[in-house]
Structure formats: structure tokens, C-alpha cells
């Protein structure tokens, strides 16, 4: 026998799955929301997205090559996801220089300081987003109205998000039933016809992305269902206790960044728990914190903070919440 053969331990075959396939699968799932944001916010959305993606790629390349001195691995698609998610999480008229700072913080502090893909504790895009929110509160909360290509990148007509509207109104002591007249209808909320960050408005597009990721088995149902279910139940209980002070579950589900967060950010592989049980606990935590911040906190919106706080608990969850072992006695 002249043929040289390989000898290695089993298994001898592989599924063919790869990091790229999963990452680009997520990117594909984000396309509907991206298209909707272009339709609603026109030029602004395109500028913000391109800037965020390009700068994320650039910073990851520069940091790996010149600071970490290793071969840059930007082709794995993770920088693309961070870029798009960062863009999704900011208003469509955000100045370019602020986006650059956001990308630098997201990639530099959020990801590369920990050692790059797979090692970061916090979702990089959210690290960037929250940094911007705290540093540039005015620019980060002046939401352009979704007017399609009429939306100007500069001097856009801006308005409040439904969540901010309710929060301000309740603070002034106005009854909720009165305030709800100023909020777009549920159908409009679902279709994204409201003020908000670029990628968070179109609920329908985000749900489409979720369906695709579940179908392709890129993510499992545990995290999105736990987050959304908890928000629905918790806000439902509050609403039933006092309908004039607390908005209903549907309003909470469809407004702000909840769908975007539950579907695309809480499900980030690296920063979410490994076991199904862990994922559910993590999801419930995000849901509870979101409602608590929205209803009782200073900010009208709390999804980003909720996810970042729960990110910090993930290592702990991974240590204490073990998957059910085969043959383990059920209690």
C-alpha cells in the first residue's frame, strides 16, 4: 500500500458548521430590520450603518495587528455583527464622530481588551451603546421621526419614543389612558412607525429574523422566549394592579429596544449562558430588570442595562446551573 493515510481519533466526520456560517446567519437574520430602517430613516440609516460597520472592522484590524500583534481574524463576521448592532442601537441621525467613538469603545474595550472573540464578558455593541448614551445623552436621545427618505440626516425632525412619552407624562401625573392617545397604535408599533433607535423600531422585521434563526438552529428559543415572556407577565401583573399607572404588556413588548435586545443581543453566543436552564434564568433576569428600569428607574428604557447586568452574571450562572445529566435522579 503506497497511499499515505491519516490517523486520528474519532469522530472522523464533522457537521460542516463553522463560526462564519453562524455569524453570517445572524447577519442575514438582521437584514429585514436593516431594510426597514433604510425605508424609515433613509440616508441617515445608511450613513450610520456604513460608518459603524466600517469602523468596527477597522478598529478590530488595527488593534489585533498593532496592539495584540496577532493575525487579524476579522473575516469571522463578528465585527460585522457588532457594527450592525451598534448602528441598530443608535438614532439614525447620530453624528459620524460619535459613531466612531462608539465603535472604538465597542470593539476596543468591549471585545479586544478581553482577548477578542469568545472571551468578552459583555456584549460589545451594548458596551459601545451605553458608553454613548451616558457620554452624549442629548444626541443619543434625539430620535428622528421615521419619514422615509424625507428624513434628513442633518436637522432631522425629531420626536420622543413612546416609552419616553409615557415616562414624562406619568411623572407629570397625567393618567395613562390619556397618554396612550399620543402613542401610535399597536399596529404602528409592530410595523415600526415610531421614534426610536435605527434598528429597534420595526418589530415585525425583528420577529422575522428570530424565525429565521430558530429555523436555521442558529439560536435556541430559550433566551428570547424567557425575556419576552417575563416582560409580558411582569408588566401584565403591574398593569392589572393599576391600569392608570402601568402600561400593558403589549405596549412593553412592542416599544423600545426589547425585541431587538431579546432577539439579537441577549442571544449573543459569547455573553450568554451555555445550558438551556442557564439561558432561561438569564432571560428571566433580563426581563425583570428591563421592566424594573422602565417602570421604576430614571431611564425610560432599560433593555441595554438589563442585558449588560445579566452578562455579568453569566459566568456565575455557568458555574452553578448545570444541564440535566443523563441518569440523574429527578427530584
Amino acid at each position: 500500500m503506497n497511499t499515505k493515510v491519516l490517523v486520528a481519533p474519532s469522530p472522523h466526520v464533522h457537521s460542516g458548521d463553522s463560526i462564519q456560517k453562524n455569524m453570517y446567519g445572524v447577519v442575514f437574520a438582521m437584514l429585514p430590520a436593516l431594510v426597514f430602517s433604510f425605508v424609515y430613516f433613509g440616508m441617515g440609516a445608511i450613513i450610520v450603518t456604513l460608518t459603524a460597520v466600517a469602523s468596527c472592522y477597522l478598529f478590530e484590524f488595527l488593534i489585533s495587528k498593532y496592539l495584540l500583534k496577532k493575525v487579524p481574524t476579522i473575516t469571522d463576521g463578528s465585527a460585522l455583527i457588532t457594527g450592525i448592532l451598534l448602528a441598530f442601537n443608535v438614532p439614525a441621525n447620530l453624528p459620524i464622530w460619535i459613531i466612531l467613538i462608539g465603535a472604538l469603545v465597542a470593539i476596543g474595550i468591549g471585545k479586544m481588551t478581553f482577548g477578542g472573540l469568545g472571551n468578552n464578558v459583555f456584549n460589545p455593541a451594548l458596551v459601545g451603546r451605553v458608553f454613548l448614551l451616558i457620554s452624549f445623552p442629548v444626541q443619543m436621545t434625539s430620535w428622528p421621526k421615521p419619514l422615509g427618505f424625507d428624513t434628513a440626516y442633518f436637522d432631522a425632525q425629531t420626536g420622543a419614543t413612546p416609552l419616553a412619552l409615557i415616562k414624562e407624562g406619568l411623572k407629570k401625573g397625567e393618567p395613562l389612558s390619556q397618554l396612550m392617545h399620543d402613542v401610535p397604535s399597536n399596529m404602528d408599533l409592530l410595523m415600526g412607525n415610531m421614534g426610536g433607535s435605527m434598528g429597534e423600531v420595526a418589530g415585525i422585521a425583528l420577529l422575522l429574523g428570530l424565525a429565521y434563526m430558530l429555523f436555521k438552529k442558529i439560536i435556541s428559543w430559550h433566551i428570547p422566549v424567557a425575556v419576552l415572556g417575563t416582560v409580558a407577565v411582569f408588566s401584565g401583573i403591574l398593569h392589572m394592579s393599576n391600569p392608570e399607572a402601568y402600561a400593558g404588556p403589549l405596549f412593553h413588548l412592542l416599544t423600545g429596544g426589547l425585541l431587538l435586545g431579546a432577539i439579537f443581543m441577549a442571544t449573543d453566543y459569547v455573553t450568554s449562558p451555555m445550558s438551556n436552564k442557564g439561558m432561561i434564568i438569564y432571560g428571566i433576569g433580563i426581563g425583570l430588570l428591563t421592566v424594573i428600569i422602565r417602570v421604576f428607574g430614571a431611564y425610560p428604557e432599560g433593555v441595554s442595562f438589563a442585558i449588560l447586568i445579566m452578562n455579568a452574571f453569566v459566568p456565575l450562572i455557568n458555574v452553578y446551573v448545570k444541564p440535566k445529566r443523563f441518569g440523574e435522579k429527578r427530584k
Binding site: M1, T3, V5, L6, V7, A8, P9, S10, P11, H12, V13, H14, S15, D17, S18, I19, K21, N22, D76, G116, L117, G118, N119, S220, Y269, V270, S272, P273, M274, S275, N276, M279, N318, K322, P323, K324, R325, F326, G327, E328, K329
Partner: protein, 442 residues
């Protein structure tokens, strides 16, 4: 909903290329090399020496303990030598090398093809005869069959499960045995039921073999107490623990044997061997194996004499393809890569897979992205990503408390990992070390 096991599992491409190829008889080679250790447990002790004349079916190495198995000559001829030669594991092992002369069988063996349904042997006779015939688990694990049939005091067997799952991709030998030797398998099953004193047996077959399910279901009408149970196609359903979980919904506790939940599992090929041993007085010296591969001219199934060189099987199927990159003894998930084709086929050889070069090489391993897919596919509910890190860091205490010894080495984690991490390689290392530590503690 078809039944399947409780946790994890994967569905690799089935590639059952040889499923429609009827079992053929592989020509007897000029020399056979019969290793004295073809089973789990103590190697057998050779009882023949150079220049002894032997017949087909003659005992040539005697079981050397309770967990051990007799070895019989698969050919007639002269013992050339008893020496160490390389076997499929790549190590040199003692083997009995016999030069073939004709095909003279022991007179005690009934060579007729007639089906003998009447079981005259008693429970004790059956177990004794199975041990004498050297029957081991033919699914590949090669655990001596009589040991499983000897139920320890204090335990009772409630049900016999026949493993006809053949969940490894590519392999089809069990499939063909069921189609061509269905009655023999079912009589063998009844013999095993008698040996265990159970009145119920369940044959588990994955639904990617609808013809075998239909055939055996039709035949089973004539055999009391035997049920055919179609299962969802899901790897590693052929694992003993997974199969029991799939069929009777009971989970064997960590470290325990199937008898703990009242079950005994035997392979479908073993059932056929039991039939032949009890009804035809024929010890285990031949079996059926699949030779397969995408580039192979003729993927097919063959009945071969134990000790035949691997090379003969490859030649019978059209020769070694140009692009062969890996030769695997067994299936692609749990089989062992061979270093050469000059090793003998043994009792545990269920198949031979020739992988083309482009499929043989592993892809570059990337950092773990913590996707958790290894956790969700693990049929034992373990955390492969963590076990790998712990094995790498030599954290043996934590490996033990994280149940590394529960790993059945099915390879579902490595198969699934999007980052191509060699999870099972590290887990095996860790298992070896933890096993050593646990034994030294006793």
C-alpha cells in the same frame, strides 16, 4: 412521534451506500491471523502450537476468566506460528497465524440452512454454550455476551432489548442481517429471552431502515413476546444507555449497568450468532461487515472469516480508491483509524470505511465562541466545552465532579462544534487520567 432518547443527539448524513447490497461471502484467504484479544476483558490463552492441525470451528484459545472469551479457528489448516503481530489498534498483540488448507469443518457443526425454531436447550445450557462459542457484542463494543446474560444476584431482568439501531453512518451490516436472516435473529432473540428468563423482548430499529422494520414486524407475529420498535433516526441511539432510554424511558444512573433498570441489551448480530451457536452448534468464527466509502467502486456487505486481512475486504469491493485519506475500522463517529491494511478483521469488525482525502483532514481549530451547541447535543448531559478546558488545565478533581467518566465518547460534541475544537480528544485524555486516579484510590 417516534421514540428516541431523552437528551441531546445529532443527525449526521446517513450515507448508507451499501444498504441494498446483499451479503456476499468473502473468499477464504491463504493465511489468517487470529488475535487472542478480540474482546473486552482478559485475552484468551492459546491452546495450539506451531504445526498443529486445526479445523474450522475448533477451539484454539481458551477464555482466561469470567470476563474473557473463547477464540475458535475460522479456517482449516496448520498453525504456522503463535506470535505478536500488529492489530487494528496499531499495537503488537499475540495472534495465532494459520496457513489455510481446504475448508474442513468440525463434524459437530450443523451446516444446513434449515431454520430450527424449537429451543431444546435449558437456561443454564444456553448461557454455557454462548460462553463456549466465544460470542461477544458484535455492535463493536465486543463485551462477552455470557457476562451480560448472567444476572447478578439481587437484580432481575425484566426485558431484553435487541440493538438493531445501527446509528453509525455508512454501516449496513446489521441492516442486511435483519433482511436476510430475520427468522434466525428472532429465534436467537427467543433463546436470549429464555437465558434471561424474561417474557418480553423489544427490537429497536431506526426508521431509516423501513424495509427491515416491515420485514421483522411481519415475522415477529410468529414469535411470542417479541415486539419491533421503530425509532427516530438519531445518533448515538445505538449506545446502550441511549437505546434503553429511547425504548423503555428509563435512565441508567451514572456508573451503573443496564440491569439496574431491569434491561439487558444485545446486538442484533449477536442474536444471529447466538442462534447459530445454540441451534447449529457453530461457534463465532465468521460475521458480516460493511465495506464502504464514497469513492469505493462497490460499497457492499460481506460475510468473512475472523482473521482475514483488511486488505482482502477492500480488494473484494474494488480495491483501495486513489483518493483514500483515512481507513477507518468501524463507522465515522466511533471507528478507529487504521495505519495499514495488513491487519486482521476481528469479531468487532462491523465495517470498514474509506474516507476520501478532503473529508479526512480536520479543519483548523478556532477559539470557543461559547455557543453551547456541544452542551445541547451531548446525550449524557455533560458540558464538553468545560471538560476540554479542565482536561487541558489538568484539573482532575473538577473533571471528576463534572462527570467526565459518564462520557460515552460518541463524538457528537466534536462533530457539532462550529469552531472545530477537538473536544473529545481532550475529554478522552481527561477520562484516562481520572480513571487512573479513581482506580488508585481503591
Amino acid at each position: 412521534m417516534l421514540k428516541t432518547f431523552s437528551l441531546g443527539g445529532i443527525h449526521p448524513a446517513e450515507n448508507k451506500l451499501s444498504a441494498s447490497s446483499a451479503i456476499q461471502v468473502l473468499p477464504i484467504p491463504e493465511t489468517v491471523s487470529i488475535p487472542i484479544s478480540q474482546h473486552i476483558g482478559a485475552p484468551a490463552t492459546p491452546i495450539v502450537k506451531k504445526n498443529d492441525e486445526v479445523k474450522v470451528g475448533q477451539l484454539i484459545a481458551k477464555s482466561s476468566g469470567f470476563v474473557s472469551a473463547n477464540i475458535h479457528s475460522s479456517v482449516s489448516g496448520t498453525v504456522f506460528k503463535v506470535d505478536e503481530i500488529m492489530d487494528a489498534s496499531g499495537f503488537r498483540k499475540t495472534s495465532i497465524i494459520i496457513k489455510v488448507d481446504g475448508d474442513k469443518w468440525m463434524e459437530t457443526i450443523d451446516r444446513s440452512e434449515d431454520l430450527v425454531k424449537e429451543i431444546s436447550a435449558s437456561k443454564e445450557e444456553i448461557i454455557k454454550k454462548i460462553a463456549e462459542a466465544g460470542i461477544v457484542g458484535l455492535g463493536g463494543a465486543t463485551f462477552p455476551a455470557h457476562v451480560k446474560l448472567s444476572v447478578p444476584p439481587g437484580k432481575t431482568a425484566e426485558v431484553l432489548i435487541i440493538n438493531a439501531v445501527e446509528c453509525e453512518p455508512y454501516l449496513t451490516s446489521d441492516h442486511r442481517v435483519m433482511l436476510e436472516k430475520g427468522d434466525e435473529v428472532l429465534v436467537g432473540t427467543q433463546i436470549l429471552m429464555k437465558a434471561l428468563g424474561v417474557d418480553r423482548a423489544i427490537v429497536g430499529i431506526e426508521n431509516n431502515k423501513p424495509d427491515a422494520i416491515a420485514h421483522l414486524t411481519k415475522l415477529a407475529v410468529n414469535y411470542q413476546g417479541i415486539e419491533i420498535c421503530p425509532l427516530k433516526t438519531q445518533y448515538p441511539q445505538g449506545g446502550e444507555k441511549q437505546l434503553i432510554s429511547a425504548i423503555i424511558k428509563r435512565e441508567i444512573p451514572s456508573g451503573a449497568l443496564p440491569i439496574e433498570v431491569g434491561a439487558v441489551v444485545q446486538n442484533v448480530g449477536s442474536a444471529l450468532a447466538v442462534y447459530e451457536a445454540i441451534q447449529k452448534n457453530k461457534p463465532l468464527f465468521e460475521r458480516v461487515a460493511t465495506i464502504t466509502g464514497k469513492s469505493l467502486k462497490n460499497p457492499s456487505n460481506w460475510r468473512f472469516r475472523i482473521g482475514t486481512p483488511v486488505k482482502d475486504l477492500i480488494d473484494a469491493a474494488g480495491g483501495l480508491p486513489e483518493d483514500t485519506g483515512k481507513i477507518i475500522g468501524g463507522g465515522p463517529m466511533m471507528g478507529k483509524a487504521l495505519t495499514t491494511v495488513d491487519v486482521p478483521l476481528t469479531k468487532g469488525s462491523s465495517g470498514l470505511l474509506l474516507l476520501p482525502r478532503e473529508e479526512a483532514a480536520r479543519k483548523e481549530s478556532k477559539p470557543c465562541i461559547r455557543c453551547g451547541k456541544c452542551v445541547s447535543v451531548c446525550p449524557m448531559g455533560l458540558e464538553p466545552f468545560l471538560l476540554m478546558v479542565l482536561a487541558d488545565k489538568k484539573e482532575y478533581d473538577r473533571l471528576e465532579s463534572d462527570a467526565v467518566m459518564d462520557c460515552i465518547e460518541c463524538g457528537s460534541c466534536s462533530f457539532t462544534c462550529p469552531a472545530n475544537r477537538p473536544l473529545l480528544d481532550y475529554i478522552r485524555l481527561g477520562k484516562g487520567k481520572v480513571g487512573q486516579i479513581m482506580r488508585s484510590r481503591k
